[in-house]
């Protein structure tokens, strides 16, 4: 299910997070939110989403809708929460992998390259690019989710693509 599950009748903050938390996290990351802010802004996206549920059309896929909220939240970069982490107890961090093997390192570098390239593109076009090229959402759906005219969505994609190609080339030339 490329666009996430359509919420059933009993939608709770938890169930929404369980199904879409990772999607929101990654969307914010792709939109250029710093790692240190991902947690807080992910939280904020869900808070906003729950508040705006009345405006969500259950017949539409939920991910583009969430992405629209994530785009606004990333744009604001304001933070409701500051270091709430210490109030909730630290879990043992079993993720420390030691030095990454080559493949993992390459993966990280490649991802970072793409994110940096995206970061050079204006947010409104970046959002269309991410939704289309990564989430594989059709342009009409994107236009709806971002509340922009269809033609605008197409033109943002076209310009954004050209900018992305150029940005990647520049970044690669520098390596």
């Amino acid at each position: 299910m490329p666009h996430g599950a359509t919420p059933g009748k009993s939608l709770t903050p938890e169930s929404l997070y369980q199904s879409e938390g990772q999607y929101v996290w990654n969307s914010l990351r792709r939109l250029g939110v710093r790692d240190a802010d991902l947690e807080d802004l992910t939280h904020e996206v869900f808070i906003v989403a729950l508040r705006r549920l009345p405006s969500y059309d259950p017949l539409r896929p939920i991910r583009p809708w969430l992405f629209g909220i994530a785009t606004r939240v990333a744009g604001h970069q304001r933070r409701w929460w500051r270091r709430r982490g210490e109030t909730l107890g630290e879990l043992p961090d079993v993720e420390d992998p030691g030095p990454p093997p080559d493949e993992a390192l390459a993966d990280r570098e490649q991802r970072a390259l793409l994110i940096r390239a995206l970061g050079r593109i204006k947010l409104e076009r970046r959002a269309v690019l991410i939704l289309h090229e990564l989430d594989e959402v059709a342009i009409p759906e994107i236009a709806r989710a971002l509340s922009i005219p269809l033609n605008t969505a197409y033109s943002r994609l076209r310009i954004g693509r050209a900018e992305l190609v150029a940005a990647v080339r520049r970044l690669e030339g520098r390596r």
């Binding site: 938390g21 549920l53 909730l88 090229e133 594989e136």
Partner: protein
């Protein structure tokens, strides 16, 4: 439909392909996020997108106060015990948090067996959906260190008449939202989940029962804030408005930034 990606150079397509699969949320952040969102007011079953959080909570809080009053045989005493437990910090002020032992159960009577069969105990363990959970559960299984001496309880729980409840006599505690050592966040969540489900059923007394157990087993647990938020809702649902308000005041003092606050205040103010 999708335009062909062929318009993009191969190299860029490869980059996109790689990134298409998102990264997992780091364990700790995931656990914290799940807990933070779980501490939001409960959603009702059948909740429709047309209801916002405030109205959902208001509806929850306003439901069948009178029925709850009648059926509160257990809940009253439970609530009183719970209210007494609202000062975990006073009970053990500066506990070194580095130890692996979970907080010892205070020298208080064990909670009575649940009044009703716990429907939620059959639910899949939370750990299935919480990446950090399996480890946490493993660590929590047997007590690792010799049992610490029973902890003195600062203020014995004050017995409360069932209803209408007078203000709970609790000294304003200053719970430092300190990181607890309890590694068993999944177990904690399970208990709170039980409470939440009970509240959704309108069964305030079972909800309070589960919340009491949580307060006893994890007095300074990682999810204490969520517990207190749920407790306020449970008391309100049970018609014990005074107690709910009293605890709300403490909650405001302890967690001034809690996201649950607006909805809790709204819920209490709209149901006089």
């Amino acid at each position: 439909m999708r335009e062909p990606v062929e318009a993009l150079p191969d190299e860029l397509r490869a980059l996109l392909e790689r990134e298409r699969e998102g990264l997992p949320i780091p364990r700790r952040a995931d656990a914290r996020l799940a807990a933070r969102l779980a501490s939001l007011p409960v959603a009702l079953p059948g909740m429709t997108p047309s209801m916002d959080l405030g109205s959902r909570l208001a509806r929850l809080l306003g439901r069948r106060l009178t029925i709850a009053l009648v059926s509160l045989g257990v809940g009253g005493g439970v609530g009183a015990r719970l209210a007494g437990r609202f000062q975990p910090a006073a009970a053990h002020p500066v506990e070194p948090q580095a130890t692996e032992t979970r907080p010892a159960r205070a020298a208080l009577p064990a909670p009575p067996p649940p009044a009703a069969p716990r429907t939620s105990s059959a639910r899949a363990p939370v750990s299935e959906t919480t990446p950090g959970a399996p480890i946490a559960r493993r660590q929590s299984a047997p007590p690792i260190a010799p049992a610490p001496p029973p902890r003195p309880v600062a203020a014995p729980p004050s017995p409360l008449p069932v209803a209408p409840a007078p203000p709970v006599a609790v000294s304003a505690p200053s719970i430092p939202p300190a990181a607890p050592a309890a590694p068993s966040i999944a177990d904690e969540r399970q208990l709170l989940e039980t409470a939440r489900v009970a509240l959704l059923r309108g069964d305030a007394s079972s909800g309070l029962e589960a919340l009491t157990r949580h307060a006893e087993e994890y007095p300074a647990g990682a999810l204490a804030e969520e517990r207190e938020s749920l407790t306020i809702q449970a008391l309100a649902q049970a018609g014990r408005r005074d107690a709910a308000e009293q605890l709300l005041h403490q909650f405001e003092a302890n967690y001034p930034k809690s996201l649950s606050l607006p909805a809790l205040r709204l819920g209490l103010s709209e149901n006089p």
